[in-house]
Subunit: 349 residues, 2 copies
């Protein structure tokens, strides 16, 4: 039996809550022995659902909440008035040590504001970042920040690099993840002062990181590196541009393949191959905005996630906890900060 890992679930967040949350948790339980849950939400709605999943019920504690954070609520309002909500109680469970992490498909801004306030950041991390996994030519790439920090310093970017690298190593299982800084060109003279300073710090060798240097927008889908580091403004726009472009392409392809009788027949024959491609790029298999850098694991699921999407987001939280993601980040950053304080050695003359 694996060591138990408890994850708190906001069972009321997202368009398909609570059904998809409960079904997703059960799917994770089957694949991750040792996974336990604190399920927070409306007891009257959740208890009958849990009754349908007795094996899940056996490893879950149900905590009642009769209020939710609405999707439109401002983060500041959610912070002030959201104390009894399912989202807040799930975060509180992490702060109290009852769970290692929290998963919610609710309001992103409210989740980040509450998680930051309640859990605080890890020692050595000034600002948490939002990361996601992308399918690429070569496999999977982590990118961060995707919107938590519109403006960033070079130090923030260095910390994001550590967060992304530890994630790629510990959770994606990449032995020596290559880390790239997103820029408008790969030459060292390109870009803003912030990215050039961050590159200088990452190149200085004080971190246990395989720093690749600058990467460009097309390196994200190409999978040139395993971790793409950028500020939250650029990252958010790159993420949504990639998603939108993939959707446009898929829509146009679907239309083209239904335009004529011959095209429809061709589609039928090629269907198994096209379904394989669809599965590979299925956004549900990459669901989860990972809030990295907090003193506790927090994962934001897409609001429209179904059972499979929720299972992916919950599994990320379980795997981060099992790997000891936060301990590894703290250790790496402590080593880095100690080294930064050490006076530079003068080369022997």
């Amino acid at each position: 039996m694996s060591q138990p890992i408890t994850i708190a679930l906001d069972a009321m967040g997202g368009d398909r809550a609570p059904d998809a949350v409960i079904a997703g948790a059960d799917a994770v339980r089957r694949c991750h022995p040792g996974a336990c849950f604190v399920i927070v939400g409306d007891r009257e709605r959740i208890a009958p659902l849990l009754a349908r999943f007795p094996d899940l019920a056996a490893v879950s504690e149900l905590r009642h909440s009769d209020t939710v954070v609405s999707p439109e609520q401002r983060p500041s309002m959610a912070l002030r008035r959201g104390r009894g909500t399912s989202m807040r109680l799930a975060i509180d469970a992490v702060a109290a040590g009852d769970a290692a992490g929290v998963v919610s498909a609710g309001n992103t801004g409210a989740l980040m504001a509450m998680a930051k306030t309640v859990l605080k950041t890890l020692p050595g991390v000034h600002r948490p970042a939002i990361a996601s996994i992308f399918p690429t030519r070569r496999g999977r790439t982590v990118m961060l920040d995707l919107g938590a920090n519109v403006e960033c310093t070079a130090d923030n970017l260095v910390q994001f690099a550590v967060l992304g690298e530890v994630f790629a190593r510990g959770v994606l299982g990449i032995a020596r993840p290559r880390v790239g800084l997103l820029n408008v060109g790969i030459e060292t003279t390109k870009g803003s002062d912030v990215v050039r300073n961050a590159a200088r710090l990452l190149q200085s060798g004080g971190l246990p990181i395989e720093f690749h240097g600058f990467v460009e927008g097309d390196d994200i889908p190409r999978g040139t590196v395993d971790v793409v580091v950028t500020d939250g403004f650029t990252g958010n726009i790159a993420l949504k541009t990639a998603e939108g472009t993939a959707r446009l392409f898929a829509d146009l392809l679907r239309e083209a393949l239904s335009r004529s009788l011959l095209a429809r027949l061709g589609y039928l024959l090629a269907r198994p191959a096209l379904l394989g491609l669809r599965d590979r790029l299925d956004p549900r298999r990459y669901n989860g905005g990972l809030f990295l850098g907090l003193n506790g694991i927090a994962v934001k699921s897409h609001g429209s996630a179904d059972e499979l999407g929720f299972a992916t987001a919950i599994a990320f939280a379980v795997e981060m906890a099992r790997y000891g993601f936060n301990d590894n980040v703290v250790a790496d950053l402590a080593r880095w900060h100690a080294q930064q304080k050490t006076p530079t050695k003068v080369a022997a003359g």
Copy 2:
């Protein structure tokens, strides 16, 4: 007979120069009566090519240059040492009034540096921008800046909005182009001070622009607006992310459709429909980095452009000249600046 429009061509820039440049110019001549050319490059190589296109030769002047700007040359070096190059002589032809615009597939940085130095910016424009056309769900969208200005002020963004709007109206033929500012959310509180200030200026109504407000990354492929305005850092990364994602999708589709016998048969049947889609998204039909805001038209073709790609880039230059793109920009900006100086009217009490 249409009014003559002369475009200077750097016949030596790009991987397929000079052949593709000459063939592309001939294609434009056929579709744009009145188009004339100053062709700059190695006379010994170009004269025999021109002999094969007598109708093109009849409307072209050949100017000899025996040096080129190399693709790796730094812009500062190209500026200092590039006086006799084909790129520089083509730009000089615009400055001398012999041509309305220049097209080159050479070194982008060198072309921008030389064009800025030789042609200067238009009155009212502080910084030129690079724009391109994207295929979208609804048609075509112009986006700028794509990399000329890594950092921008709110004023720069307002000027880019004018440049993009005049282009969409005059060259793409969109009667009332909608203009959007790229941001991490559509709410007015989102983003950096720069984008919020630019939005405030664009909303003030002093410009003859249909300002839509903020747009997000996925609004680019969706075609939510006709003109997407952003700084050169974000724009460059969004452009390359979109291109890279489309390429990944196309590559994976090609692989899926050749994996099994059935898939290959399906592809054969669906081929006409798929070729239609490929044509619609063909990057050669969107080729051309438009350098907007200079006192003279300048278009950068992709380095790997073939005859069709070159024809697109050259046609953009011809159409901008024919429309009087620069005169329209200057008029709009003069009206805007005059209004900015007028004290705000106090509402009658």
